[in-house]
Amino acid sequence: SQRKDEKFSVDSSSAIVMAFQSFQHELDARHDKYERLVKLGRDITIESKRTIFLLHRVTSENNMDEVLAEAESKLSAVRQKIKQVAQELVGEDMYQFHRAFTPGLQEYVEAVTFQHFITSRMLFSISEINKQLLFEDLQMPPTTEKAHTLGIQVTPVDYLLGVADLTGELMRLCISSVGNGDMDTPFELSQFLRNIFDGFSYIGNTGPYEISRKLFALKQSLSKVENACYTLKVRGSEIPKHMLADLFSAKSEIIEHDDVIS
């Protein structure tokens, strides 16, 4: 055949070839790490989602503690996964691999802010979230001072995208509350969601495109919650006077009762 074999007598110990061999290793190592991070990211997403489902199972004061305990243990497990991410990123530029695990972090933000809302009716801040993501690094010798902790930080964009999704869960919580006959939570939620909506309005289009894109869903969630409150209000207008009195006394009774317990 006409194959010019001698052409590929390219010296395999030539500088170029040796350089490319090292490139090969560098690129493969990078891709392998990326792939491991994608897998960790998927695990984080799935477990965070399951925690959110779990938290929706709070249906009364009765099972609240039990559910919250389970959620906390699930989120601890998620944080262990995030710690593995952090370990992969030791000495790396986090942003180089950010795309691999950012969906996971966003879902974690959604889960942990949802947990926090249920326990405290407040928005869990990004700094508090990040505080929970500093881990002790047992593998490093305790002498090297700055390496004592190992951590990964949720970026403001991850946080905002997680919070934007949180509003969808809060809307679900609101509709469920009405269904459960809980008349207070919807009004609390509408106030809270309006605050978040104001916050996102403040950010407007100054953030990245993904944030603006979620604004529509956020607005819809807010509108569903506002409509639910509206319905509660108009229907409340029909309560006969005598029942209203009963209601008030019943309410104060319960409040007292609560005080005794706490």
């Binding site: 509709i175 269904g179 006959g181 639910a228 319905t231 229907r235 029909e238 309560i239 019943a250």
Partner: protein, 228 residues
Amino acid sequence: MSVIDMFVGLQTGLSADQDIREEIRKVVQSLEQTAREILILLQGVHQEAGIKDIPTKCVKAREHFNTVKVHLASLQMKFPSEQYYKYHEQWRFVLQRLVFLASFLVYLESETLVTREAVSQILGIEFEREKGFHLDIEDYLSGVLNLASELSRLAVNSVTAGDYTRPIRISTFINELDFGFRLLNLKNDSLRKRYDGLKYDVKKIEEVVYDLSIRGLMKDQPTLTAEK
């Protein structure tokens, strides 16, 4: 074997597959027709006249389900049983609808939730996947969610028809369903979306019960009177 011979062989496989799909499509059309007839029948209960005639409607619906059984028996003859999920998408929609209809029927008969076993029996199919043509769990759940929304509509129409106790019973039933669904971890798919709708059904029925309650139209109105 030459390349073209290989492709001829592959094409034969693809054609056979297409023929199977065509056959399935025809049976599914018949199933849809029967399902439409059952639906027309059962939806009569939303009318004031119909609500009083539930037992007769149920008997007629049971008869229609015999036709369904025949079609489903024919359906499973169309393809190798271990390839159920290969063709699943084709009958998925109609099967969910049949589950809904069967569960609606059972609810109207006995005010209970039809189990997955029971619905398989009504449809004349297997309960366990290993045994053959069965009912996928997500399709079962999807059908049940349709039941919830049908019942919330029924609650509204019951009140119009002057029946104030049925909404209360529906409320209890849907609450139990809701409690069940809360146990599930769903993916972000169509089932999740329908499940989100359940919350609105629960809300709607709560509103009906509330309306009855504040007007003293509930026989043994539990909530508010209890709190007195």
